[in-house]
């Protein structure tokens, strides 16, 4: 079922986009922008989530999403007021939907009553009670849905077996939640008393078309919604049921008659329930006693309605479904939207053919599929998402006709709404893009190799060739940028998960925390984005747990009671800076240094600077659970942050100012693949230093070195004293260059501290493709990775930041 897996993957992709959008919209709504467009966007998003969930049979998700959607619908109509309480409830609901989606994705089960409380509040709100009223009314689940069973004569003479009775209660999922639906079934439908004509009694004839099921709608959910309106009776009408020989598994033979009784009922209220399936079904609504009211038929498929099926039912057509198709059907795990036409009970399982499945099994003789060849089933299911798939014909399942909301959000302004639907896009498998990226990487290497081969004499002789190479260089550059742009995504997708984290942390710690996000449209390579979530979570958790003070403490020291965590992203040259900043207490340096000394991370005779002490919180093994309590707690999991970030070629730097707050900066490469470097020689080995960290290069003969008491050297540059690292010594390599002919490469490691690297020679600048050392070896201190030079040899990439930090960590040997 890899196809189905693909659809599911697409669905989950779309879900995460939709959830992000909901989060964004509510952030704006919370900030006071309560316009209809935003509500409509959320409403559409949740409906799409629900639609897909229905198609895949995630019944719990469908149930919750449906209740939430109903509430939103009421809010849109103005029947429920969008108070702050409601906004908070909705934000919580988004979180629950996200959890349900995640559960569906990972296959783990959430507790059965997960989100129940919220569901009840939706319901209470929908019934006009106030949001802050804890005593919500009856939850929707407990509505008395009265199903009247219908006997179907399948030719077994007068006494048809009981289990051939048409029993909606068998259809699992949501139906199961209707705890009483099974038990209250009347024993004998034929004796059901005729309904009395009461004022406020409505008769509804509801005949779904195939398309209704194809779009993952479920009559049961509609009935449930109707049940909210009044006292209800639902009777299936099976007169359309053909003989088994003519039975089409994907056709719809069942329609329903519904009697609804309520004093305050209007036709509009009933029609509204069916708003989403309009066009996919026939609906007749009439008040009993009013002119043209339908005859309340008993709705029984009696023996006279159809020729009785022969005693030996011919099930061969059904069984002609190839085995694997059947198992595919059953694979579906569709436990909600199966409304099985009653077939011989023995074959009921097979007959549980879901109308949606035919998108996979065969194109149905149905307009929807005819008109939309090549439409994936997931898109059909979630068809009102303006999903970025080229469609021959947009399929809009259930665009609410009422508000004039276009199918795509019309607000083109940059406040976090989706790009307008005018943007044509395709989904491409990341592997395909990666292949292109790698090819381009190799192309870059070859191009720089060719350029290197051209010495002065050649250049003078072959001007055309030189020009060609220059064009090639430019084109390669452009190609590379374009490929990288394909993989780039706004960091929004990670940032949008953080508000929820902060909400939960605030609840847990009892602090008041405000999260500000800045620059969430900054784009960065997708693989890097995927790696960002964990470190950011750790950093924000760290800020909330240990950086920010409690409300009382903040007030006592004259700060506002609400702590702020600011999350920002910006592009700085060839890097992306992601900054997590809090206005809390800062790092307790004395304690940090003490612990570091106790643990032997810092030698007793080394006196690190304040800045170096701050970095110690990232030192591996710096903090373990037992120390957390007696330290300010900084450092929990921070080494994880560092290793994660290093893995993607980035660095972390922290600055703290006591009493004012802490600022953690992640410096990340724009892409993983290519780096601008300076090629140097250390001893006889080629090394490369990332250009982004180089400030300047100086010939040693012109540099002014100074000895410091500890025996080391420092370099004086424009009034600054900079630590000197002789790479040959550091890397234990022979060097035979006269010291005056060597070079200083002045680098700016993360933050403000500079470091001077001494190398034997500078060869030039080029672009290289980063290769991992860890792939076949392990991490080496001071080395950020390797690269393959034009001559095929490996050069190692100097890890400037790593060189600096190991100084502090290394015991003074």
């Amino acid at each position: 079922m890899s196809d189905l897996d693909d659809f599911k993957a697409t669905y989950f992709d779309e879900c995460s986009e939709l959830l992000t959008e909901m989060e964004e919209q509510f952030a704006a709504i919370e900030a006071g922008e309560r316009d209809a467009d935003r509500l409509n966007a959320v409403f559409r998003a949740i409906h799409s989530v629900k639609g897909g969930a229905g198609a895949f049979g995630f019944s719990a998700l469908v149930g919750f999403a449906h209740a939430y959607e109903t509430l939103l619908d009421y809010v849109r109509d103005g029947r429920v007021e969008m108070t702050d309480d409601v906004v908070t409830l909705c934000i919580r609901a988004n979180d629950i939907v996200a959890d349900y989606v995640k559960a569906a994705q990972t296959g783990e089960a959430l507790p059965a009553d997960y989100g129940q409380e919220e569901k009840e509040r939706f319901d209470a709100l929908a019934r006009g009670e106030r949001a802050d009223d804890d005593e919500g009314g009856e939850p929707m689940e407990e509505f008395d849905l009265e199903f009247v069973p219908v006997m179907v004569n399948i030719g077994g003479g007068e006494d048809a077996p009981d289990d051939a009775g048409f029993d909606l209660g068998d259809f699992g999922g949501v139906a199961d939640e209707l705890a009483n639906s099974n038990d209250d079934l009347a024993e004998d439908a034929f004796d059901a008393p005729p309904l009395e004509a009461v004022p406020g009694q409505w008769e509804i004839h509801f005949t779904p078309h195939t398309a209704l099921y194809a779009r993952a709608n479920d009559p049961l959910l509609l009935f449930r919604e109707l049940a909210v309106l009044g006292e209800m009776q639902v009777r299936p009408v099976l007169t359309a049921m053909p003989s088994l020989a003519e039975f089409e598994p994907f056709a719809v033979y069942c329609s329903w008659e519904i009697t609804l009784i309520s004093e305050s009922l209007t036709e509009a209220m009933i029609r509204e329930v069916f708003e989403f399936v309009e066009g996919d079904c026939d609906i007749a609504v009439a008040q009993v006693g009013a002119a043209g009211a339908p005859e309340a038929s008993a709705g029984v498929a009696s023996a006279t309605a159809k020729p009785a099926i022969e005693a030996e039912p011919d099930t061969s057509d059904l069984l002609a479904l190839a085995d694997d198709e059947v198992s595919d059907l059953l694979d579906f795990n569709l436990d909600t939207d199966v409304v099985a036409p009653p077939v011989a009970a023995a074959k009921a399982e097979v007959a549980v053919a879901t109308p949606h499945a035919d998108a996979i099994i065969k194109p149905a003789e149905d307009d929807t599929f005819e008109e939309a060849p090549g439409l994936s089933f997931a898109e059909l299911a979630a068809s009102i998402v303006p999903s970025p798939v080229a469609k021959p014909k947009p399929v809009v399942a259930a665009a609410p006709p009422k508000p004039a909301a276009p199918a795509a959000s019309s607000d083109g302004e940059d406040h976090g709404s989706k790009a307008s639907v005018g943007v044509q896009s395709i989904r491409v498998d990341l592997d395909k893009v990666d292949r292109v990226v790698n090819m381009v990487g190799e192309l870059v290497i070859t191009q720089s190799m060719l350029t290197q081969q051209m010495d002065e004499t050649l250049r003078a002789r072959y001007t055309e060739l030189v020009r060609g190479l220059e064009v090639l260089a430019q084109t390669t550059r452009g190609l590379q940028d374009s490929v990288m742009a394909i993989r780039a995504q706004p960091v929004k997708s990670v940032f949008s998960r953080m508000p929820r984290l902060v909400r939960e942390l605030a609840t847990k710690t009892g602090k008041k925390i405000k999260l500000e996000t800045i620059g969430e449209n900054t784009e960065i390579d997708k693989t890097i984005i995927e790696q960002l979530s964990d470190p950011l979570t750790h950093m924000i958790r760290n800020s909330a747990d240990h950086g920010l003070e409690s409300v009382e403490k903040r007030l006592a020291i004259g700060k506002s009671d609400t702590g702020t965590i600011r999350l920002s992203a910006e592009q700085a040259g060839g890097n992306i800076l992601i900054i997590v900043e809090d206005d809390g207490a800062g790092i307790n340096r004395e304690r940090v240094l003490q612990v570091a000394r106790d643990k032997g991370i810092v030698a007793p005779d080394v006196n690190p600077t304040d800045e170096q002490i701050d970095q110690l919180i990232f030192a591996p093994g710096f903090s373990t659970a037992s120390e957390v309590s007696d330290l300010s707690g900084r450092g929990v999991g921070m080494d994880v942050v560092l290793s994660n970030i290093k893995k993607i070629g980035g660095s972390v730097h922290v600055r703290s100012s006591t009493g004012k707050g802490t600022r953690m900066t992640l410096r990340l490469p724009l892409t993983l693949a290519v780096l601008d470097v300076m090629l140097v020689k250390v001893g006889v080995s080629p090394y490369v230093v990332p250009l982004s960290s180089i400030v300047e290069t100086i010939q040693c003969s012109r540099a002014s070195f100074e000895r410091v008491p500890s025996g080391g050297q420092v370099l004086q540059v424009r009034g600054e004293y900079v630590q000197v690292i002789d790479l040959a010594k550091r890397f234990d390599l022979q060097n035979e260059t006269e010291s005056d002919n060597r070079f200083v490469v002045l680098c700016e490691a993360e933050g403000s501290a500079k470091v001077a690297l001494i190398v034997d020679d500078i060869i030039g600048q080029q672009q290289v493709v980063i290769k991992s050392l860890e792939e076949n070896f392990e991490r080496v201190d001071g080395i950020a990775g390797g690269t393959i030079l034009g001559d095929g040899n490996v050069a190692l990439i100097v890890d400037v930041q790593g060189l600096k930090t190991t100084i502090v960590h290394k015991n003074a040997a």
């Binding site: 080629p686 070896f777 201190d781 080395i783 393959i788 040899n793």
Partner: protein, 153 residues
């Protein structure tokens, strides 16, 4: 073909045999990716002397281990005639530097003996010893060979 190898796999091993000085060692042929002439390597800082450095193997960086040095007999002084045997260890590729590849041997599993106690480095780095045509062949334990490569590790 498949039958033959299936039978063979049941009770016999095919080894690639190579020499370091007078010693013969072997590794299972299924772990060997390719055999290359020594062509230099980029030294890796902060690693033990038996890590000769890294080479570029068709776009992948592969570390090279000097087997002589690993057995504690000092570094090999490699020439163009020395050989790198590229092998897979788990999901990693590594190369080991040896003097020469001598043979492909088929040995019976029953003939493999435990390494006699005494020389700790041998017991540490060998999986067993097998005698083939009066030659003693040490079976290399690759996982052990590539461990402990970093100075601080």
């Amino acid at each position: 073909m498949a039958d033959k190898s299936a039978v063979a796999a049941q009770n016999s091993l095919q080894l690639i045999a190579f020499s370091i000085g007078e010693q013969t060692y072997g590794v299972e042929i299924t772990t060997v990716r390719e055999i290359r002439a020594w062509n230099g390597a980029t030294p890796l800082p902060n690693t033990r002397e038996f890590v000769r450095g890294v080479i570029n193997l068709r776009g992948t960086i592969v570390p090279i281990f000097d087997l002589r040095a690993r057995f504690g007999d000092g570094q090999t002084s490699p020439t163009k005639n020395h050989v790198v045997v590229v092998m897979s260890v788990g999901d990693k590729w590594v190369g080991i530097l040896v003097d020469a590849v001598s043979d492909i041997l088929t040995v019976s599993k029953d003939d493999i003996h435990n390494v006699p106690e005494g020389n700790s480095i041998d017991t540490e780095l060998l999986n067993g010893i097998v005698t083939h045509e009066s030659r003693m062949v040490g079976l290399i334990d690759l996982h052990a060979v590539v461990s402990g490569a970093k100075l601080d590790g």
